[in-house]
């Protein structure tokens, strides 16, 4: 090893030789996979993408082994946003944990709160009022639309189209303002409570919602026209990141990504919860299993969510929005598992109670984590630019993956 003066600052002496700025871990390979991945053959190079890269959807880091522009192998590196949420939740009382859920999947916060309160309600045997359930479904579907709109916009942004994301944000902004009028927050709502929701629908919410619903369908159609009929966009997506139903099931895919391979699996129908059995909606599927199918499926889901919102508004009963719940909660010792259909797939919480006012064990199951592990299947043989397409179409949120 030779030493040399840094060109940036001659007073600094660098130990490493120039050319050793490779994304190789500073420890000897721990597994066979690491040994294999970080052995670079002739004509190949390792390229480090992230953790601060414009199209990694957060602080994801991937190391790619490239042969020219073609990806030979890929290694996702996680943990840059790890906050220890599960451990935090085990040291907070049941009410507190709900606010820890919000920043997990921060573009669809309500779907992180939902399984947590459902698990606690199971532990405590609380019956949620029907109006509260309807409000949960209504706000949840609004949140699902806003999340899908953002996914569509960022999909285009990662492919170099700068306009759709702003059109998406116009619609999303309307929705977060609506939700802010009842929850008091634009992004991390902290709205669901054990036994109901925090506050009834108010006049501002209803007037904004009615206003938006009257133009929502036309607006979504107009926004998608910019991309669906765009030859460049379609060609970038068709046949990229194709996965068949069997492999997707083996990799534990859920949500829109699984339904884009043709498997009509939706928690709202497969394991019904809340008032979804009373609502009429379809499970859109597509058979191609490529990035374009995943993108188009999200548009179909937006249309179904609009149907659900419409039905919620018509069927919503009067009544209280909170059950009678003790302020200090000491559920009986036991365990509860609750799962919901989040915009990215099956979002589950597993909580164990030991009879105190804190969960004894608290585990979060995030769908994006399982989608992300499929990079090693999808990427080899594709081009560097396809990673942006595949990553955007899988729509991961790093907050939930790193927990």
């Amino acid at each position: 090893m030779t030493t040399h003066a840094s060109m940036d600052d001659p007073r600094v002496t660098l130990d490493e030789q120039l050319g050793s700025f490779e994304p190789i871990p500073p420890y000897p390979p721990r597994t066979e996979r690491e040994q294999e991945f970080y052995t670079v053959a002739d004509g190949e190079m390792l390229v480090n993408i992230g953790p601060h890269h414009p199209s990694t959807h957060g602080v994801l880091r991937v190391v790619m082994k490239l042969d020219g522009e073609r990806v030979v192998d890929i290694d996702p590196v996680l943990g840059y946003l790890h906050r220890g949420v599960e451990k935090l939740c085990e040291n907070a009382d049941f009410h507190h944990t709900i606010s820890y859920m919000d920043p997990l999947e921060y573009v669809s916060s309500l779907f992180c709160e939902w399984p947590a309160v459902m698990a606690y309600e199971k532990l405590l045997d609380i019956k949620v009022p029907r109006r509260a359930e309807y409000i949960r479904v209504l706000t949840g579907e609004l949140n699902r639309i806003s999340s899908h709109l953002l996914a569509m916009g960022f999909h285009a942004l990662d492919l170099g189209g700068i306009t759709p994301i702003l059109y998406s944000f116009i619609e999303r902004d309307e929705m977060v303002e609506m939700l802010a009028s009842i929850t008091g927050q634009r992004m991390l709502f902290n709205y669901f409570r054990i036994g109901g929701v925090n506050g009834d629908l108010n006049h501002e919410f209803m007037s904004r919602l009615g206003d938006w619903m009257s133009r929502a369908t036309a607006q979504v159609e107009a926004n998608q026209g910019l991309l669906n009929e765009n030859e460049v966009f379609v060609r970038r997506n068709r046949g990229v990141g194709t996965i068949d139903a069997q492999t997707a099931l083996k990799m534990c895919w859920t949500g829109p990504n699984l339904r884009a391979t043709g498997v009509p699996f939706d928690i709202r129908r497969a394991h019904p919860y809340s008032v979804y059995p009373e609502l009429d909606f379809d499970i859109p599927t597509r058979s191609e299993g490529d990035s374009l199918a995943r993108y188009l499926l999200r548009i179909d889901e937006i249309k179904q969510s609009l149907r659900i919102i419409d039905q919620c508004l018509h069927q919503m009963p009067d009544g209280p929005v909170m059950a009678r719940v003790p302020r200090l909660m000491r559920p009986r010792p036991g365990r509860a598992f609750a799962t919901v259909e989040a915009p990215r797939g099956q979002y589950s919480i597993y909580a164990v109670s030991d009879g105190t006012d804190q969960p004894f064990r608290f585990r979060i199951h995030d769908p994006s984590f399982l989608h992300l592990q499929s990079f090693t299947l999808l990427m080899p043989g594709q081009l560097l630019a396809d990673w942006m397409t595949i990553n955007a179409s899988l729509d991961p949120i790093m907050g939930g993956i790193d927990k």
């Binding site: 414009p54 306009t163 702003l166 059109y167 765009n230 460049v232 060609r235 081009l383 396809d386």
Partner: protein, 445 residues
């Protein structure tokens, strides 16, 4: 000495600057006067001998200078137009409607740290932006802005244009290689592959046009298209125009072919490691390139500085020399009468406005009217004013098209880019060439 230094110390900074500048300017002025007095004769003689050289030097300097405001204008256009297409407001703080924001951007890159990463090859790293900027500015030399308003008229002007445009790839490759960064390396290689591939359909697309015109001088090509707009080559070479436009989009690295600086893939590519004015050169070169390729499209296919219809010669009607003594009288009286007339509405209707304010307003309005009338007079009297206006108007239509494409289209992938050039554009360009050649054989020019 102490008295002097105390007096100097009491001066403020502007004072010090003035008292330093005055003697310096005096010295320079005296020296210049001496040089001109002693060497004046030989200089005039040399200038008359090498008039063409002098003309070229002056024109090249002007071209070098006007690239900066051109880039500023196009950067501002891009910011504002894309903002409107995105339903945003866009820049609105610096200057009226944010018009000065790109100037501030220019000043910003000028004062930012000029950073060379360790591991970079300093010489090549420094030279790369110069090559890129130089290549785009050098292509401007053959552009005819108006009748008589061009730097140099080569008989191989178009060939020179393609050659200089192709030089940019050397600079981009230098930047990509010397930056010691893998993103930059990928960007440099992409630019090499892309520009070399698109040179071929680009050159082939105008081959049919050259067969029709029988000349490669851009001036002559523009002059061939005078008269009604049906004389424009776009109507004889529609396929050639489409291929040319697509290929220059790739040559200028504009969306959807901006793979070399794909910010969501290889984070600005060759420019990743650049900062300060070196980045500024890349940035300006991109926008100057947009102007150049738009201007070349206009010159080749849309009649250049020609009006779309034979413009009537109105110069006789508005020749101020024919007015004689009335011109002098007019100069004396018209401002007074005009100012009073234009301030009359304010004097009569705005009772709250003081009279002096109304008169000042009237004078400002009068100046606006006079400048407008002078513009009209210049437009009808001088060929080059009219030509320049037509040329710029057409060019900025194409600049707008580039901006529009950037707001609308995503980026293509590298294999699609190469496949498009070799599988579609080149056969189409060859077809265009053969059909044109056949038509000339059968019908004649």
């Amino acid at each position: 000495m102490t008295v002097m230094s105390r007096a100097w110390g009491r001066l403020t900074l502007p004072g010090k600057v003035i008292f330093t500048a005055i003697p310096l300017l005096l010295a320079v002025g005296v020296a210049l006067a001496l040089v001109v007095g002693i060497l004046g004769g030989p200089i005039v003689e040399l200038a008359s001998q090498y008039g063409a050289v002098l003309r070229f030097l002056v024109a090249a300097t002007i071209i070098l200078v006007i690239t900066i405001p051109t880039a500023f204008l196009i950067i501002f256009m891009e910011m504002k137009i894309i903002a409107f297409m995105n339903l945003r407001v866009g820049p609105d703080r610096v200057g009226p409607w944010g018009t000065l924001l790109s100037v501030v951007h220019g000043l910003k890159v000028l004062v930012k740290e000029d950073f060379t990463p360790s591991g970079a090859d300093p010489l090549i790293f420094t030279l790369a932006p110069v090559v890129v900027y130089g290549s785009s500015v050098m292509t401007l030399v053959v552009l005819p802005f108006a009748p008589g308003l061009f730097a140099q008229d080569f008989n191989i002007g178009l060939l020179y244009f393609f050659a200089m445009g192709g030089l940019a790839v050397v600079g981009l490759l230098m930047a990509g290689w010397s930056s010691f960064n893998k993103y930059s390396l990928l960007g440099g290689l992409r630019s090499a592959a892309q520009m070399v591939s698109y040179e071929i359909p680009l050159t082939l697309s105008v081959a049919g046009l050259l067969l029709l015109a029988g000349t490669m001088s851009v001036n002559q090509l523009v002059a061939n298209q005078s008269g009604w707009f049906t004389n424009w080559y776009v109507f004889q070479q529609p396929l050639g125009f489409v291929i040319f436009f697509i290929a220059v989009t790739a040559e200028a690295n504009r969306t959807p072919f901006d793979l070399t600086e794909a910010d969501s893939e290889i984070v600005a590519g060759f420019a990743t490691e650049y900062s300060g004015m070196r980045f500024g050169f890349f940035f300006f070169a991109e926008y100057v390139n947009v102007f150049i390729v738009s201007a070349m499209t206009v010159a080749l296919f849309f009649g250049g500085w020609n009006a779309p219809f034979p413009f009537p010669a109105l110069a006789i009607l508005l020749d101020p020399g024919s007015l004689g003594i009335w011109l002098l009288l007019g100069i004396a009286i018209v401002p007074l009468v005009g100012t009073l007339l234009l301030s009359l509405p304010f004097l009569l209707t705005r009772s709250s406005m003081p009279a002096w304010q109304a008169i000042v307003l009237g004078f400002v309005l009068f100046n606006v009217v006079v400048i407008g009338l002078l513009g009209v007079w210049a437009f009808v009297s001088f060929d080059w004013v009219a030509g320049l206006l037509w040329f710029l108007a057409k060019t900025y239509v194409f600049v707008f098209t580039f901006v529009w494409m950037r707001a609308t289209l995503p980026r293509v992938r590298i294999d699609q880019l190469m496949g498009f050039a070799w599988k579609w554009l080149m056969p189409a360009a060859l077809l265009n060439l053969f059909v044109t050649a056949g038509a000339i054989l059968v019908v004649g020019r």
